[in-house]
Amino acid sequence: MLNNNLKLNPKIFDGDVEKISTRVGFGEGLVLAADSDKNVVGLCADLNESTQMHLFAKKYPERFVQVGVAEQNLVTVASGMAAMGKIPFAASYAIFSPGRNWEQIRTTIAYNNRPVKIVGSHAGISVGPDGGSHQALEDLALMRVLPNMIVFSPCDSIEAKKATLAAAKIDKPVYIRLARERTPIITTIDTPFEIGKAQVLFAPPMTAQVGIVATGPLVYNAILVAQNFAQKGVSIKVINISSVRPLDFEAIINLAKETGAIVSVEDHQVVGGLGSAVAEVLVQNFPVPMELIGVHDRFGESGTAQELIENYNMSVSAIEKAVDRVMGRKI
């Protein structure tokens, strides 16, 4: 059942659950962050509306820099602004930033430990019709490998807003992963958000038989899976990884100890992404059978978000099958 302590959306299981893009939460959060700190500045590479930075740019034009279609410039100019005491948010599509400008991010932001906030929107296969060239499936891997970098992957718009506000307050480089598609609201404004802390969103009253570790909007599918299995008498615990780095080792190890079987869920390549990150923790601390839901060693293609999630085996039924598989492998 849903963890009541976290004050999650009571309408989460309704057929007409409210859907808002995570990028919208970012756009609103950035305006709030800028309202409370005059050092917050914004930079964009010709994708103001798509990334939802236009709200900030409209309200604070003197603190906004339009760099044009130049993602390498986007992050390096941001690094220079941070060197002068600013808190820059640099927004583009994840495929271009951090996709195209990774070395600039490494050298001028992570290496220098400058508090630039890199905002990668339209991440994941759920970008849909734009096709495989625009679907960033590698950005978590690219960012979580960098020392100093904090990596947020919010599960819904409300969490994205909180992640944006948290990013503005911490004197470190941050990557925020956002999606284009409207996705169900899972949390509420009263749900706590803490950097580096995973949250148990769904837990059975008894010891759980399988643990699902999920990140981003697919957390919703993970919760539906847990609910479906609960009705069949199988107990599943779901944790939400909103910080991929720092990763909540303790929560993941405890989940493995409780369940002895883990499924990871992400809209990203499982290699280098959350699946890898969870496996790295478990193999060094408490190895248990694991199944990895996500994209497996291929590029995406055009289609609706729903078609792609289904065809690339990240749907509710695909996760259910993974749960069955991992239960069969339990020792």
Binding site: V41, E62, R63, V65, V67, G68, A70, Q72, N73, T76, V77, A78, S79, G80, M81, A82, A83, M84, G85, K86, P88, E103, Q104, T107, T108, Y111, N112, N113
Partner: protein
């Protein structure tokens, strides 16, 4: 800007000569590194740190200092030698260049030398950082801020797309407090720039990107200081100075030989180089 007298020019020349000797000595100790560009830029570094920059070696993080970024970080032996001669640290420390535990890393690294404006080495991303610094300062202090922003570029890194992205943004934003100096020595690792990837007509290119452009002899203090003075008086556009320099300047067997781009002199070569420099005094 203070008055540039003949006495001052003689003094600056002597200082640059001392800095060149320090460059050679530190590279001999390090057994690797980049002498040609470092020697070629010694006069410009000397002019900047001993005549032009607003800075305080006793308070390196002074808020109102001018900002200087060395984008082509590989010529850092001359950066370190200039900082040492300016009083940021003891000359003795130059002997630790490129050694384990040293603050003087193989490329400038603010994790070890925290008053550097940035870490550099990977080419092509210095100018965009300075553009960002300039933009941030304009938000805080307006167009007529007292701070000046300098970026030193190699000619080779004009082959990097990121450099031109920054050139476009600098012009768009009309960053009048920004002065860029290009070390136009015509060499890069594998040979002459015009054979590897031609940059000419460089001046026309830069002018057509809406920058104020000057071309100077990068070893003539009057020209260096005069050009920077002009640059600061240009309004509503950023300024770029193409400084023609001789790679390996001051050491006969290194001058204009691209083989010395990335090879350190051995002890014997180092002694010869230092002796040549001493005899020039």
């Amino acid at each position: 800007m203070q008055q540039l007298t003949d006495e001052k020019i003689i003094w600056l020349k002597e200082k640059a000569n001392e800095i060149r000797q320090s460059v050679i000595e530190s590279l001999v100790e390090a057994k690797s590194g980049h002498p040609a560009g470092a020697l070629g830029m010694a006069d410009i570094f000397t002019a900047l740190y001993f005549f032009i920059l607003k800075h305080d070696p006793t308070n390196p993080m002074w808020e109102n200092r001018d900002r200087l970024v060395l984008s082509n970080g590989h010529i850092c032996p001359v950066y370190y030698a200039t900082l040492a001669h300016s009083g940021y640290f003891k000359l003795e420390e130059l002997k630790t260049l490129r050694k384990f535990g040293s603050r003087l890393q193989g490329h400038p690294d603010r994790r070890f030398l925290n008053f550097l404006e940035t870490s550099s080495g990977p080419l092509g991303c210095g100018l965009s950082q300075v553009v960002g610094m300039c933009l941030a300062d304009r938000i805080d202090n307006g167009k007529y801020s007292s701070k000046q922003f300098y970026c030193l570029l190699s000619d080779g890194e004009l082959q990097e797309g990121n450099t031109w992205e920054a050139i476009m943004l600098g012009a768009k934003e009309r960053l009048q407090n920004l002065t860029v100096i290009i070390d136009r020595n015509n060499i890069q690792i594998e040979g002459n720039t015009e054979n590897i990837m031609p940059l000419e007509p460089l001046r026309q290119k830069l002018e057509s990107f809406n920058w104020h452009v000057q071309t100077i002899d990068g070893h003539d203090f009057e020209q260096i200081i005069g050009a920077i003075d002009n640059a600061q008086n240009v309004s509503n556009m950023p300024s770029i100075i193409i400084a023609n320099t001789t790679p390996g300047k001051g050491v006969s067997f290194m001058e204009n030989n691209f083989k010395w781009h990335g090879k350190a002199p051995n002890k014997e070569e180092g002694d010869r180089a230092v002796n040549e420099l001493r005899s020039m005094k």
